[in-house]
């Protein structure tokens, strides 16, 4: 069992409201200059959950489940920085008050998965509170590997093996090359995500990256996300797919940061038997993967 400082973590409430989708202009060009309508970010998505395919929806940056946000700047950033994947959530107001769910990712909003009967009862503006725990989690014997955005509950499910000599290994659903990393390079690794670029469909198919599922655990080659997000030969980053595909140039399924190392001390392998995916690991969302 990998040694961590989990007993030192603080569990703290953060909250947001189910947040409405917003449009300025309805149109946005795709990578060929054809106008499309952006639909998928924010709101309560009733029919896409973690574990569902990242591709194929007639939508853009689809955020599965309920998207929450806080209207005040300080609390909004607390929600972003403290909420971790796998944290418990509870509906605090409205028809579904008392219903429990699970935090599944961070994008423009924080995404929470609930069962379908609960999703149907949630109104825009309903308050949802998250028991945030995971910020500050460290692997005590691996100071050279950064750890982010994971509840201890998710950490335990990643099937991390210790290889000695400061090396670990874990299963992933797919591997991304460095040149495919796009929007989000300008953000620090503690904020939101970095999209993989899906515009070049031929390259995507040739690399076997066109069948990802939201919630997939992914490896990024030659990327050092220990502080910000950048190219470093030999570095390895492990992330989680948090939202669906996009038609905008330089965008695609998003990758949130979980683990990163500036050197090659993180090993990974593609597991085709038991899909490394959040839905399967936590028994939430699309349960067909479990």
């Amino acid at each position: 069992m990998v040694r961590t400082n989990r007993d030192q973590l603080v569990e703290m409430a953060v909250w947001g409201e189910a947040w409405p989708a917003a449009l300025r202009s309805p149109y946005r060009p795709n990578d060929r200059g054809e106008a499309g309508v952006l639909m998928g970010t924010a709101g309560v998505i009733l029919n896409v959950r973690v574990g569902d395919p990242a591709y194929g929806w007639a939508g853009d940056h689809v955020e599965p489940g309920v998207s929450i946000r806080n209207r005040e700047d300080g609390p909004e950033h607390a929600l972003h920085y403290l909420a971790c994947i796998g944290n418990d959530a509870v509906v605090v107001s409205g028809e579904a008050a008392g219903a429990r769910g699970v935090m599944t990712g961070e994008h423009a909003h924080i995404m929470v998965d609930f069962e379908p009967d609960v999703l149907e009862q949630i109104a825009i503006g309903d308050r949802i509170q998250i028991r945030a725990v995971g910020m500050g989690l460290e692997m005590l014997d691996y100071p050279h590997i950064s750890v982010r955005k994971m509840s201890p509950r998710l950490f335990d499910k990643l099937r991390i093996e210790e290889l000695g000599d400061g090396r670990i290994r874990l299963p992933v659903a797919a591997v991304l090359p460095a040149y495919m990393m796009g929007s989000g390079a300008e953000l620090g690794a503690d904020y939101v995500d970095q999209d993989m670029i899906s515009n070049d469909r031929e390259t995507l198919a040739a690399l076997g990256l066109d069948n990802l599922r939201i919630g997939d655990i992914l490896a990024i080659q030659d990327h050092d996300h220990t502080y910000n997000r950048g190219y470093r030969e030999g570095a390895v980053t492990i992330g989680l797919n948090n939202h669906g595909d996009s038609f905008m140039t330089g965008h695609g399924p998003g990758v949130m940061d979980l683990l990163s190392c500036a050197t090659d001390k993180i090993e990974y392998y593609v597991d085709t038997q038991q899909r490394p995916n959040l839905a399967a690991y936590l028994g939430i969302g699309n349960k067909s993967l479990a």
């Binding site: 990578d31 990393m181 300008e186 515009n199 031929e202 996300h225 910000n228 905008m248």
Partner: protein, 296 residues
């Protein structure tokens, strides 16, 4: 000279004020985090920069993404969007208020997300007389320019005088464009996924060996570079075979994912641009810009 519709373009004034540098107030900290995780407090975006000029190296400054010369911004959001989209590299800038009123400068680039500035070069004696807040007009001309025989090539932030000076030739149904260096797609960083009508896209400088291998370790402000396998027609993103051309417009950064900023000038999603690496391809020579004796 490549045939364009340059005589149909509209020249329009867009305006900004010389913008001040800024940091967040306490308890937030003003430091940036570098590649090794060390916090460093450095001068960064904005202001009037007296001693970093077009033709200087992008590397080695105790600064982060420094905009050489003058950075301007409009206080109104939509007006700033117009300033940033319409201003083109090579356009004239005219000081409209203050002690340097009447002085003429040149647009040399743009800064993107978190800044949204247009960057201008002026002679040193003008920089001396400028004040933060001074109004500067850009005589914007270039948006809407198309290349007659290459409809697949898109022009962004490119003025007719700059295009004319770039010594572009037509060879074998492609445009041969002289450049100082070619950036491979894995070294294209912050700016990816964002708009190509304004702003900049960074050459990632964290991996010094990779920079050296690709001949990117001696870049100067104002150098023309190519982006390989990057499509910037409707925003920036990887696409095998696409080629972009840009100008190095701001200095190096200490942050992973960042590095010298490049303002996009041309993009060929289907690859109709052939970059030709040459020793000297810099705005100082191309446009004859006076920056007080800086070397290119």
């Amino acid at each position: 000279m490549v045939a364009t519709n340059h005589d149909r373009l509209v020249t329009m004034s867009v305006q900004g004020n010389v913008v001040s540098p800024g940091y967040p107030g306490i308890p937030a900290i003003p430091h940036q985090i570098d590649h090794e995780g060390r916090p460093r407090l450095l001068p960064a975006l904005g202001g009037i920069v007296y001693n970093v000029r077009l033709g200087d190296s992008v590397y080695g400054w105790a600064g982060d993404n420094i905009e050489p010369g003058v950075a301007i911004k409009s206080p109104e959001g939509p007006a700033n969007q117009a300033l940033n989209v319409f201003a083109c590299v090579g356009n004239q800038a005219v000081v409209m208020s203050g002690n340097a009123k009447g002085a003429i400068g040149t647009v040399t680039g743009k800064s993107g997300r978190f800044a949204e500035h247009v960057i201008l070069a002026f002679p040193p004696d003008v920089l001396d007389r400028l004040a933060i807040g001074d109004k500067i007009i850009v005589r914007a001309c270039g948006v809407g320019m198309t290349v007659r025989d290459y409809p697949g090539v898109k022009l962004k932030s490119l003025s007719p005088p700059l295009l004319e000076s770039m010594r572009i030739e037509e060879n074998d149904q492609k445009l041969t464009v002289p450049v100082k260096a070619v950036v491979p797609p894995e070294l294209v960083g912050a700016g990816s996924g964002l708009t190509s009508e304004s702003g900049a896209i960074c050459i990632q400088s964290m991996d010094r060996n990779a920079l050296q291998r690709h001949g990117l370790d001696a870049l100067r402000l104002g150098d023309i570079v190519a982006l390989a396998d990057y499509d910037s027609a409707w925003g920036h993103g990887y696409r095998k075979g696409s080629v972009g051309i840009g100008v190095v417009s701001s200095t190096d950064s200490i942050k992973a994912g960042y590095g010298p900023g490049v303002t996009l000038l041309m993009t060929a999603p289907d690859g109709e641009i052939d970059p030709m690496v040459m020793d000297r391809v810099n705005l100082v020579d191309l446009l004859g810009i006076d920056v007080g004796g800086a070397k290119a």
